[in-house]
């Protein structure tokens, strides 16, 4: 986290850092205010971080690839690349050069709405820095071209050699406390723990031996694909632990419809969520303060979570519920404590091989940690990348699947706000946040509000091809003309009634950051 202070330039794109990762943002602010770092913010909204920025690139939602390609084009044209790094550490650089031809500052200005001078300035600022960090979040990934957006950023990093040392790199900020860890330990359809592919025979054999069970080598379905499969009645039953797709999924009318078709749904949670309401069986679980275990943060840091209080009445720890269920199902599980489970994770997961509870005091350990004497790894990709050489990939600009038109003239982008979290199950049941921000709102520019004669605080109807919500208007200069923003925490005015379930074909991430809506009084 303190790495921001070592950067000369910080480039934040698609991350409203001060609201979604407030404490990570402190490092960025400190770097800018006290260490002389320059800050470039690329976001369609004039987010709070812009107060500290040297440059704000307010590109239209869904035009990230064009913007990043435009920056790279300037860097190449002005000969600001790191030739030594390109030669020694990367491959296929020449392949992408041609593909960038069209991305002149003029062309990129037309697509993104960012004045070309700013594009040129930003490119120079980034490329000329000795050390530069990029931070991104879902503003980059939640698009049908999300994978392309990330690859474009990787191209930018590789061409300027800004990776593999402190103060430089490409950093996704993970949105949930343990999204990193859940991925690491194999809660993914294509990987066992440690990103070991399930369709690789050696891995299958390894885990069959470790777990004493026959395992499938067929890739599983992603969360979004499960909803589709339920809708198509190919998926008949689901076990959902601590997730609330009925508020967090795009196009929740569709999700509800699909979940209602399931023959059997079991939900394990701490509250009666929208999803739990549809369940056949609900199992009362424990929250973070009621169990021992570990979370892995956005910098791959494995940290101890400690039980502080007992869960209410008959509610119990999630790991205990899974053991109960598994044993009753006929697959034997025996663990005395979460420490035992971590020992098994360590035995089967190369990145976690050196981890055990007795080592996790204080700041924890950053993986990869290959053995018990290893102190963890702070910076990745120092000498080489995971695949060997850094690969340049051509990135086309593919516009969002649904663009504004006469009927639905606004681009809706969604996200979090500071006070609330995700589907609100926790923050909306906490007195302070619930009193502070009671209801959802749609951010609307002054120009659009004037044109539609909408006053600040007035109720409006926002609709898309998929649904409609009634919501309070917040007239603000956060958004530009033609763009509206709705936080997705509020079930009474759920942004995801409106969003589209178009997916990025590679990462299967839905396009939550851009769809077309209309606004009426």
């Amino acid at each position: 986290m303190e790495e921001a202070e070592k950067a000369d330039v910080i480039f934040v794109i698609g991350s409203n850092t001060t609201e979604t990762h407030p404490v990570a943002a402190l490092g960025i602010k400190k770097a800018v205010r006290y260490k002389g770092a320059k800050l470039i913010v690329a976001d369609p909204r004039r987010i709070d971080l812009c107060r500290f920025a040297d440059l704000h690139l307010g590109h239209r939602p869904g035009t990230d690839a064009a913007l990043i390609n435009g920056l790279l084009k300037v860097i190449i044209d002005e000969d600001l690349t790191d030739k030594k790094f390109i030669a020694e550490r990367t491959e296929c650089f020449d392949d992408i050069k041609d593909s960038l031809k069209q991305f002149t500052p003029e062309y990129v200005e037309k697509i993104t709405g960012v004045p070309k001078e700013r594009i040129i300035n930003a490119a120079r600022m980034y490329a000329n820095a000795k050390n530069a960090l990029i931070y991104y979040t879902m503003g980059i990934t939640q698009h049908t071209n999300g994978t392309g957006n990330v690859r474009a950023l990787a191209n930018l990093v590789l061409s300027t050699g800004k990776i593999g040392r402190e103060g430089s790199g490409l950093n996704p900020l993970r949105g949930q406390n343990n999204v990193q860890g859940a991925c690491d330990v194999g809660a993914l359809p294509e990987y066992y723990s440690g990103y070991q592919k399930v369709n690789d025979e050696k891995n299958q054999e390894k885990f069959e031996k470790a777990w004493g069970a026959r395992l499938s080598n067929k890739l599983g379905l992603t969360a979004t694909e499960m909803t589709e499969a339920a809708d198509a009645e190919r998926l008949k039953a689901m076990y959902v632990m601590g997730e609330n797709p009925l508020l967090s999924d795009p196009d929740i009318n569709h999700t509800r419809h699909a979940f209602e078709k399931l023959e059997f749904l079991v939900v394990q949670d701490i509250f009666m969520s929208e999803t739990a309401e549809l369940a056949d069986v609900v199992l009362p679980a424990s929250c973070f303060a009621e169990k021992d275990g570990t979370f892995t943060n956005t910098e791959r840091r494995i940290q101890m979570v400690r039980k502080a209080v007992e869960p209410p009445e008959e509610a119990t720890e999630d790991w205990k519920i899974i053991i109960k269920l598994s044993n009753a199902f006929g697959y034997k599980m025996e663990y005395k404590s979460p420490a035992d489970i971590m020992d098994e994770i360590a035995a089967n997961t190369p990145q976690y091989a050196g981890i055990s509870f007795d080592r996790l005091n204080g700041l924890g350990i950053q993986w990869p940690c290959p053995d018990k004497n290893h102190s963890g790894t702070r910076t990745l990709h120092k000498e080489k990348f995971t695949r060997g050489k850094g690969l340049f990939t051509k990135v086309e600009f593919i516009p969002s699947r649904e663009l504004p038109d006469n009927e639905y003239p606004f681009i809706l982008t969604t996200g979090r706000m500071l006070t609330h979290y995700h589907t609100g199950t926790m923050t909306r049941r906490s007195a302070g946040p619930n009193e502070h921000v009671k209801e959802g709102y749609v951010e609307l520019s002054h120009e659009d509000a004037n044109r539609l004669n909408i006053k600040n605080g007035e109720k409006v109807k926002v609709s898309s091809r998929r649904g409609q919500i009634d919501i309070k208007a917040k007239v603000t200069d956060m958004v530009s003309q033609g763009i509206v923003f709705i936080p997705f925490h509020f079930k009474e005015a759920a942004a995801n009634m409106l969003t589209s379930r178009e997916l990025d074909p590679v990462a299967k991430i839905p396009e939550l950051k851009s769809c077309a809506v209309k606004i009426e009084k």
């Binding site: 809660a187 399930v198 499960m226 689901m238 701490i270 609900v282 956005t298 209080v309 697959y331």
Partner: protein, 346 residues
């Protein structure tokens, strides 16, 4: 450079203050306004020390070390000076420790105890302000404020927010929002965490328990992916307060509004407390055995009829690594499918 503090020879760093050099040497100089992460303020005058050869006391928090100085931090004169300073502060501070939520965790109270401040020899006008508790999170009692400016410095220097500053001067000085309006800021609560007295306290912790009645457990915040270290303050089986951990942590003493204030969901009446089985469209309470048996029966039927891949599991980015590992192991080795995912994509 070499300095001598309380007869102890210390190698001090250039630019270091006397207070910092002493602290490194294990000599504790009391202070109310100094905070190691904030700029040096020199406001409270509690940290005064004597330097041999100087005819006045100096504030150790703002005085840099100089080569070969000889410093005394705890002479009779210094202690008398500190006692007077404390008496002056307490002459304009309500004597209501018995109902103050800060009792037991209050630096002013601790110092009054250490220096034996009892009577108030400086009777006169006292600042009287109504308590501001109209904001959702923080009780601001300005009659208790000692104007140490830790809150304004943390708000400006660490958070970059600058919501508050000290308005007016002298007896009328007061920490305030612009135009002295009701507090409206990011509500990170860092001002509460650094307040040395009971001027700023958490609204939801009010009256819930004394600091010596609580157990403290260090854990990790359950909101975003930053992984801030937090300390839960527990009385009986209830978390009554959250503070940033004082140990080494990624957040270095800071939290946000969610980590600091959004924890009372733990004790929400809405918590699920018993297993439930839906019968005729309505949830009915069940025992664990009933719920597990029924779930297993249904999953087995479906697996037999439609195959393992007709079942899917959504694990959770909110749960621990251990929960997630067992969940995917159950789906893969128990159910027999790789249909397991979580909300990494939302």
């Amino acid at each position: 450079m070499k300095v001598t503090i309380d007869n102890k020879e210390i190698i001090a760093n250039n630019g270091e203050t006397i207070l910092e050099a002493a602290k490194r040497a294990g000599i504790n100089i009391p202070t109310l306004c100094h905070h190691p992460k904030l700029s040096n303020y020199g406001g409270c005058r509690v940290c005064m020390v004597e330097i041999k050869g100087m005819n006045r006391f100096v504030a150790s928090c703002t005085t840099p070390v100089a080569d070969n100085i000889v410093v005394e931090t705890n002479t009779t004169n210094i202690r008398q000076s500190r006692k007077t300073v404390l008496e002056l502060i307490l002459s304009d501070h309500p004597n209501d420790c018995m109902t103050c939520d800060k009792t037991g965790d209050c630096t002013l109270q601790d110092l009054a105890y250490e220096y034996g401040v009892k009577e108030n020899p400086y009777i006169g006008a006292m600042r009287q302000y109504p308590t501001e508790d109209k904001n959702p999170y923080i009780i601001r009692d300005f009659s208790k404020c000692i104007l140490c400016a830790k809150c304004t410095r943390v708000c400006n220097e660490i958070r970059g927010v600058g919501a508050i500053d000290i308005m007016k001067r002298g007896f009328y000085a007061k920490v305030a929002m612009p135009f002295d309006e009701v507090l409206d800021c990011e509500f990170c609560g860092n001002c509460v965490d650094v307040c040395p007295v009971g001027s700023l306290t958490e609204k939801i912790a009010k009256g819930k328990g004394r600091t010596w009645e609580t157990r403290k457990v260090d854990t990790i915040c359950a909101y975003c992916g930053v992984g801030c270290g937090i300390t839960l303050h527990i009385k009986d089986n209830t978390v009554i307060k959250v503070t940033p951990t004082e140990k080494e942590s990624v957040n270095n003493g800071s939290l946000c509004v969610k980590g600091k204030f959004a924890y009372d969901f733990i004790n929400s009446a809405d918590r699920l407390k018993k297993p439930l089985i839906k019968k005729d469209g309505k949830f009915v309470e069940a025992t664990w055995d009933e719920a597990i048996d029924y779930t297993v029966k249904r999953l087995k039927e479906i697996k037999e009829k439609h195959g393992s891949d007709s079942i899917g599991g959504l694990s959770s980015a909110r749960c621990t690594n251990e929960d997630n590992y067992l969940f995917q192991k159950f789906m893969r080795a128990g159910i027999g499918t790789n249909n397991v995912d979580h909300c990494a994509r939302y």
